[in-house]
């Protein structure tokens, strides 16, 4: 089944520049229904109050990190199946393993290209 480009996507990063980059790259992929959050707590509150189809989150945020957010999403009965892509500069194997164990759907290392973003989204959502 083709991916619905109206899919609501939540992007989470404490750097406003990164949110803008991500939003622009998603728009180029025709995903315009994008909601932003600058920290894990805000993101979780928004996720609980809306119907999202994908989360793309940074890891290194305070006080709630991307990993905390992922764990809270996976622990929530309503959100536990939500696709979750971690986009982070934390590139050590132990980080990837920890994220995988917490149930991350895919993992993108910063800095990344538009092609990488598309490929990882396709691996989670299906081809578009």
């Amino acid at each position: 089944m083709a991916v619905d480009k109206k899919l609501p996507i939540m992007i989470v990063d404490d750097y406003s520049t990164m949110l803008r980059i991500m939003k622009n790259l998603l728009r180029q992929l025709d995903f315009e229904n994008v909601e932003e959050a600058s920290d894990g707590s805000t993101a979780l509150a928004k996720l609980k109050s809306g119907q999202f189809g994908l989360v793309i989150s940074d890891w290194n945020m305070q006080p709630v990190t991307g990993l905390d957010l992922l764990k809270q999403v996976r622990a929530d009965a309503q959100l536990k199946h939500l696709p979750f892509i971690m986009v982070t500069a934390e590139s050590k194997t132990e980080n990837v393993v920890a994220a995988k164990q917490a149930g991350v759907s895919n993992y993108i290392v910063k800095p990344f290209t538009a092609d990488t973003l598309k490929a990882k989204m396709e691996s989670v959502l299906g081809p578009f």
Binding site: S16, Q28, K92, T93, V97, K100, V109, F112, S123
Partner: protein, 195 residues
Amino acid sequence: MPAPAPRLDEAQDYLDSVITSLRAMDRREKQPLVGILEYLSEYIRSTRGEVAALRSTVGSPVVLAQASDELEEIVHETAKATNSIMSVAEDIEELSRQTDDTVATALQNAATRIYEACAFQDITGQRITKIVRAVQHLDQKIRLLAGLCGMEAPAEDNVSLGENQIRTGDESLLNGPQLAVAASSQDEIDRLFGA
């Protein structure tokens, strides 16, 4: 309430008074002990001098605070510049809709490359934030050392030279961005995912 930590200036005063008392004693066997105590006293004096010199130059609170401020300013300024660059890229994308397909595609690809390159701000910002934290930590330690040398009281009661800086659990995973030698590539991460 715990007893206040012993200060080096007080220790030196105590040593000097013991040395004076020993010198006044009329016993030959005192000499090796006086020699050792004089050495210790001189060692403490020299250490305090080094800390005072550090405190008045690169380790001064003013210099370290300025260094932190300068670094934070770099983050702020690069964010501003990056946003300006992105605004231009967005304008280029907007204008590309008014041209023929070939030119429009080329302009959109150029805008994509600009967006990708702008991610440098996030990476450098994170690296600079790590340096700012290190500078602040250094400042804290030098303040404490100066306090122990009797130059001024420690700035924060809850800080000690033995403070455990080792992070545990999920917090220990927050170390990025990794330097190139320690970083995993996207391909290596994909392999871990079995992709």
